[in-house]
Amino acid sequence: MSTGTAKGVWVLIEQENGKLRDGSLELVGEGRKVADKLNEGLTVVVQGNIAEEQMGLLAQHGAERVLCVEHPALDQYYVEVYSQVLSDAIEEQAPSVVLAVGSINGTDLACRIAARLGTGLVTSCDRVDVDTEGNLVQVKPIYGGKAAATCICPADRPQMATVNLDALELKSPVTGRTAEVEKYKPDTKTEKPSIQNVGFIKGDPKAIDLTEADIVVAGGMGFSTQENFKMINELADVIGGSVAATRRVVDEEWTTLSRQIGLTGKTVRPKLYIACGISGAIQHTMGMKDSKLIVAINTDRNALIFKIADVSVVGDVMQVVPELTAQLREAMAQGTKSSTDDSPETVSDAESQS
C-alpha cells in the first residue's frame, strides 16, 4: 500500500477469557502517544468479546475505537485465519500504523500480516516514536543487545512494529474517556487453514528448562547443608517457580548441573529471580543480572548481590524463606479465590466515569 491515503493507528491486543492479556494496556498507551504525534485516531483491535470494564480501561488508556473481530472460523484460534481476517480489515480501512504486542503469538501474527500485505515490520522494538516527517520510528536491539538499530518504513503502509513486553510501561489512565465499540464481522471467505491446533502442553516449572522459566528461585551456600537447601523447593513450588543454584551448590551435589546459573551454567532473564543465600559473585550474576526483578536475601549487607537487587533483604534465609513460603502459600490461595472478581480499583474507576 502506498503512503498517501493511509491514516490511523491500530493496536492489536490479545485477550483470554474476556480479560486483556499482559502488555495490552501498556501498548495502547504507546499507540496513544504515536496517534497524538501523528494527529490521527487510535483503534484497538481484539478478537472476540471482552468484559465491560476492560473496555473502560482501554478507553482510559487512549483507545477511541475498539474493534471486536468476530468470524465463525475464529472459534478456534487458527493463526492463519486471524491473520487473513485482520489483513483484509487493514487493507480495507488503511491505517498508517499497526502495533502489536511482542509476545510469541503476537509476533507470529504480526509477521503473517506483514507478509500478506507485503509491508514492512520491525519486531521486538524497545521503543516506537514519530519523526519530523511523520514516519513511525522503530528502535530495536541487535547483536544480542549490544547495539540498537533505529528504523523506518518509508514507502509501505501500514508501518508495523511489535513492541517488547519488557519495554512497555503502564501510563496513567485518564478517566472520563470513552471509546466507540464496533463489532467487526467481516464476511471474508477464509481459506481453509493448513495448520491445525491439536493440543497444548502446560509447562511444569519443575521440569522446564531454566531459560524458559518465568520465575526462578535460586539458592546458594547460605543454606549450609543440603537438607536446608531443600526448602528452596517448597518456595519454588508455592510461587510456581523453577529451582536454580550457584556453582558451589552444584559442586556440593545438592542439586543437578542443569540447575546451575552463571558463567559455567545457564543465563536466564526471568520476570522474577529470588536469590537466597547467594553472595553475588560475578560468575553467578553474569547469568541472571538481566532478570526483570531481583529479590535477594543474604545475612551480609556487603554482599555483591545487593548491587543488582531490586529488593535487598538482610536476613537469614533459614528464617526468611520458610516465613515467605508460608505467607506466599496463603497469598496465592487468596489470590486464586478472588481472581474472578473485579478488583476494587477497577470498579471505582469505571464508576467515576459516569
Partner: protein, 293 residues
C-alpha cells in the same frame, strides 16, 4: 525427503561488538564468524529427518558474502549434501523482506518438500524472514518449532511450538511447509573428520543477481521495506521500579504504608522481623503483578 535449509553466517555475538561512528564494529584480533546457532539446529533437524526417511537430499542455501562459504562448508561437513551461495553486491544491505525475495527465487529452483530456517539471526534479530519466505513460496509456515514428529506416510508433521513459560502448543501441518526453529529443538552434531574432508572438496553452487534473473531494484537495500536510519550504542537498562508516583520510590512507599516491625535504615535494606519482611516482599510482588491479588 528433499529438504532445503536456510543458513546465515553471523559474527559470533560473544565477541566484542561496539558501535563506532554509527556503525557496527566487531573488535578483536580474531573475528570469528559462525553459523547462526538456530540455523545449526535447522541443519541438524534436516539431517535427522533425511536419515529417518532414508532418502532425499539436504541442500543448504545462504545469502552472503564469499566468506559465507565457510559456514556452508561446516554444514556440508555435518552431512548436508549440497550447498548454494547467493552472492552479489546488489543483495547487500537487505532487510528480512529483501532477503526472503532472493531466497525464494533460488529455493524455487531446488526440488524440495520442506524448508527449515533458524527463527532468528543473532545479529539482526528480526525473526521474520521465514514468514516472508513462506508466503513467497506459497507454503504454510509454523514458527517457534521445538519438536518435529514426521509422518512420512501421510506426508504431514506434528510439531510443538514454544510458547511463554515453558508451555507448548501442538499443531499439525501438511508437507510441503516451512518451519522456523527455536532453541531447544535439538543439539546439533559436530562435523566428523571425514565430513570435513569431504566438504573441503565439495563444489558450492554460486548464484548472482543475473543468474537468478532478478533486477537490482527487487533486492538488497533497494528492495527493502525497512530502512535503518542509524545504529547506536544500547540504552543502559533502567534498573529501577516503575512507580506511578515518581516522588517516592516504590520501596519508600512500601515502607510508608507498613508501620512498625521495620528497622528504619538510611539504606534501602529490608531487615527485621522475618514475618514483616515476608509481608513486604509479598506486597511488592503483588504490586509488580507477579502474584495475584
Amino acid at each position: 525427503m528433499n529438504i532445503v535449509v536456510c543458513v546465515k553466517q553471523v559474527p559470533d555475538v560473544e565477541s566484542r561488538v561496539v558501535v563506532e561512528k554509527g556503525e557496527i564494529s566487531i573488535q578483536g584480533l580474531i573475528v570469528s564468524d559462525v553459523i547462526n546457532p538456530q540455523d545449526l539446529m535447522a541443519i541438524e533437524e534436516a539431517l535427522r529427518i533425511k536419515e529417518v526417511d532414508g532418502e532425499g537430499q539436504v541442500t543448504l542455501v545462504s545469502l552472503g558474502t564469499p566468506r559465507a562459504e565457510e559456514a556452508l562448508r561446516k554444514g556440508l561437513a555435518m552431512g548436508a549434501d549440497e550447498a548454494m551461495l547467493l552472492c552479489d553486491l546488489a543483495f547487500e544491505g537487505g532487510d528480512s523482506y529483501a532477503t526472503a525475495v532472493v531466497l525464494a527465487k533460488a529455493i524455487s529452483t531446488i526440488p524440495h518438500e520442506l524448508v527449515l530456517c533458524g527463527q532468528r539471526a543473532d545479529d539482526t534479530q528480526s525473526g521474520q524472514a521465514g514468514v516472508y519466505l513462506a508466503k513467497m513460496l506459497g507454503v504454510p509456515v509454523v514458527r517457534g518449532v521445538v519438536k518435529v514428529e514426521e509422518n512420512l506416510v501421510e506426508r504431514k508433521l506434528k510439531l510443538q511450538r514454544k510458547l511463554e513459560k515453558g508451555d507448548r502448543e501442538v499443531v499439525e501441518c501438511p508437507i510441503p511447509a516451512l518451519l522456523t526453529v527455536e532453541t531447544g529443538l535439538n543439539s546439533p552434531r559436530n562435523p566428523t573428520i571425514k565430513g570435513v574432508l569431504r566438504a573441503k572438496n565439495k563444489e558450492i553452487t554460486r548464484r548472482d543477481l543475473q543468474q537468478l534473473q532478478m533486477s537490482a531494484e527487487e533486492v538488497g537495500a533497494a528492495g527493502s521495506k525497512i530502512k535503518v536510519t542509524h545504529i547506536s550504542p544500547p540504552k543502559p537498562k533502567m534498573k529501577g521500579l516503575f512507580v506511578p508516583d515518581s516522588k517516592m520510590s516504590s520501596f519508600d512507599k512500601m515502607r510508608a504504608i507498613m508501620e512498625g516491625g521495620i528497622t528504619q535504615k538510611k539504606s534501602d535494606f529490608l531487615e527485621g522481623d522475618p514475618k514483616d519482611i515476608a509481608a513486604q516482599i509479598i506486597r511488592f510482588l503483588r504490586e509488580q503483578k507477579i502474584i495475584p491479588g
